[in-house]
Symmetry: C2
Subunit: 217 residues, 2 copies
């Protein structure tokens, strides 16, 4: 079952074109997480991927092209996981917050949100990159809005808040918490906030228990 067209395997494990692409993308994710956009150079990424710097340009055209592919990868993986987790958490706001907490925790471990933050920050250096990053952030924003929507329809707070506004705030808060956690090297403050939110949520769940929380219209 040896793959054709691969003469030797000094690079990434497996050494087909797909494996090389995957290794480069993972190298880009690691570099963005550990050193930010400024440190995510072609040579640094290739070093982490264990292959040659020229391959970045062969497979992705440019460094920014690779970084955007890395962002795509992160977005796809995380969005799928988030959606599954949120669905599993059912219709209770308390459960949603608990899910958000564990997801945040895993994000910090894997550096997924760090990648997003680094790319948003790096996007300042070119308008074209900014547009690409914005397009990739859009699904996250929609997802936040959709996850919150069931709880805003007939909840006790109805009329006081609008879905997109809350979603915008949640996304901003998520990004900001990641920045502070990475700066401090300490996620305790962020996790404490999630715990506090969970308690507030359980209160809201109680208040809305008999009312129309689960109603559609």
């Amino acid at each position: 079952m040896a793959r054709p067209g691969s003469k030797r395997g000094s690079g990434p494990a497996g050494s087909g074109a797909a494996e090389t692409r995957a290794a480069l993308i993972q190298g880009a994710i690691d570099a963005l997480r550990d050193t930010g956009y400024a440190g995510a150079s072609a040579r640094e990424i290739a070093r982490r991927a264990g292959c040659n710097q020229a391959l970045i340009f062969y497979h992705f055209g440019s460094v920014d092209g690779l970084l955007l592919a890395a962002l795509d990868e992160v977005s796809a993986v995380r969005l799928a996981k988030y959606q599954a987790s949120v669905q599993r958490s059912g219709s209770s706001l308390t459960e949603l917050v608990k899910t958000a907490r564990s997801v945040f925790d895993e994000d910090l471990d894997r550096g997924y949100v760090a990648v997003l933050v680094a790319m948003i920050a790096g996007a300042q250096s070119s308008p074209a990159l900014g547009a690409e990053v914005a397009a990739r952030l859009a699904p996250w924003r929609e997802f936040a809005a959709e996850s919150l929507q069931p709880f805003l329809g007939g909840a006790p707070l109805a009329g006081m808040i609008r879905g997109e506004e809350v979603a915008h705030a949640i996304v901003a808060l998520y990004l900001g918490l990641e920045m502070l956690a990475s700066l401090d090297g300490d996620r305790a403050a962020a996790l404490a906030l999630f715990d506090r939110a969970r308690r507030a949520a359980s209160l809201l769940d109680l208040l809305g228990a008999g009312s129309s929380v689960r109603e559609q219209r």
Copy 2:
């Protein structure tokens, strides 16, 4: 009143050492705001300051040294203004939120928070820089906690929230809103949030009107 030691004035207006330092700091602020940490190179900053690239190393030792001086400048200027504004806004939460909104608006215009965001993001590239940035962020966090403290003591929500937690969330939210606004090139979503918060605050002000909102102990 000609200053000694300055032979000619092709650089910044005035052309004393202090003027040059100020021009470089302003150039660094502009570069960080417009192009992020990755784009804030010695040559780019010097171009914006209208003077020579070598002067950065003469006056500040390194590019990072200048960027930190720029962050110092921003921190000092903004903190002074914030404190004055918050004191002027008195003891009503509604007024505090209104103040926060106008301050946020001005920050986006001048790019002050953009500088902070860029430096936090850029700090990923070196642990030493991270420590310096963290130290400069500390006063902002303390200020947020102090501003909120009068409203958390005996407010209706007392016991549900702790000051440092809220302050942490506010700072994170502020940073995140700045990131999203700069990415979108549109601050409307953020401003709408401030308006929503103001309405919520006026509700809280009403609820706490007769109670111990202003009590010290």
